[in-house]
Amino acid sequence: MIYLQLFFEFFKTGLFAIGGGLATLPFLQEMSARTGWFTLTELQDMIAVSESTPGPIGVNMATYCGFTTAGIPGAVIATLGLVMPSFIVILIVAGFLKRFKDSPVVAAAFSGLRPASTALIAAVLLSLFASNFLNLTAWQGFSLQSFAVLKWQALLLGAVVFVGTKLWKKVHPGFFLLFGAAAGILLKL
């Protein structure tokens, strides 16, 4: 029963992949070796497609994998399997929080959670900056060539979009994303 198996395999992945997205990768690698549903090369294709389409990467991987294994029903079932553990756990956590939302203990714990969460997102931002605006392989110490480390076109696009988001605060972020995609094609980023 391939559908049941797909559901179960992705349920397990959803349950143990903590931290989202690429945390599912080791599980998929292991799944490839054990079930033979897809090869490691196909897995690499899946990662490439997941990263070049909108949507959460983990979900994209499950859909792609489910579809290549068992068609459209497979895609739906693998995705449901992946999502189910999050869904159940969060319903429990949300119920707990609702019950204890006035407790000083929860309030104090959250007073630590918020700065930390902001810092985690800021850390992601730093790596995004490094990978989008810097070309670290070009770094050869301080010299006249040091500027080669900067990705000028990307920096320019980033600056234009930044000013745009400040000038037109009401404009939906989706518009800027569309603009970025068009600029990327035109500038051959």
Partner: protein, 189 residues
Amino acid sequence: MNVYLDLFLTFARVGGLTFGGGYAMLPILQREVVENKGWCTEEELTDYYAIGQCTPGIIAVNTATFIGTKTAGFWGSALATIGVVFPSLIIITVIAAFLRNFADNEYVIHAFAGLRVVVCVLVLNTVVKLFKGNIKGKGLPALILFLLVLVASFFFKVSSIILVVCAMVWGLFFGLYLPRHGAGKEAGK
């Protein structure tokens, strides 16, 4: 509009505009869910992100489930969750069925390079907003915690789960233990 339909459509938009990991959906969530719909506050959004870091499953799904259940109970959470994975299901199925070389397409590669730059800027704006809400004016412990977690995560690649747990202990110490015991001792002098 019916709240369930509204949840489904809003989260489908969020899913369709998420390019990259869970962090990439924060700017979209901030606009759609906090500013346009008022379903949760910015602080709560940070909480959901942090909880998503240390619970199983995809962060995007965790956040959708959280906001769905808060807004309209169980069925709200179900529809928000289905909504956030819906675009992936359609897009990935189409790509897997018809566009075998999608990820190698020159235009796709350039468009995504442009998209990533925009995501970078949008996440920057989000981090600034979150910093204003969660750290600025919240006292020295919050600022120190922010810096510690940022350094630990970015430079030392400490796992998010460990950092979130430590941050909650930090919050309990400064928010609960110290006000009761530390201040009590000083008053007793």
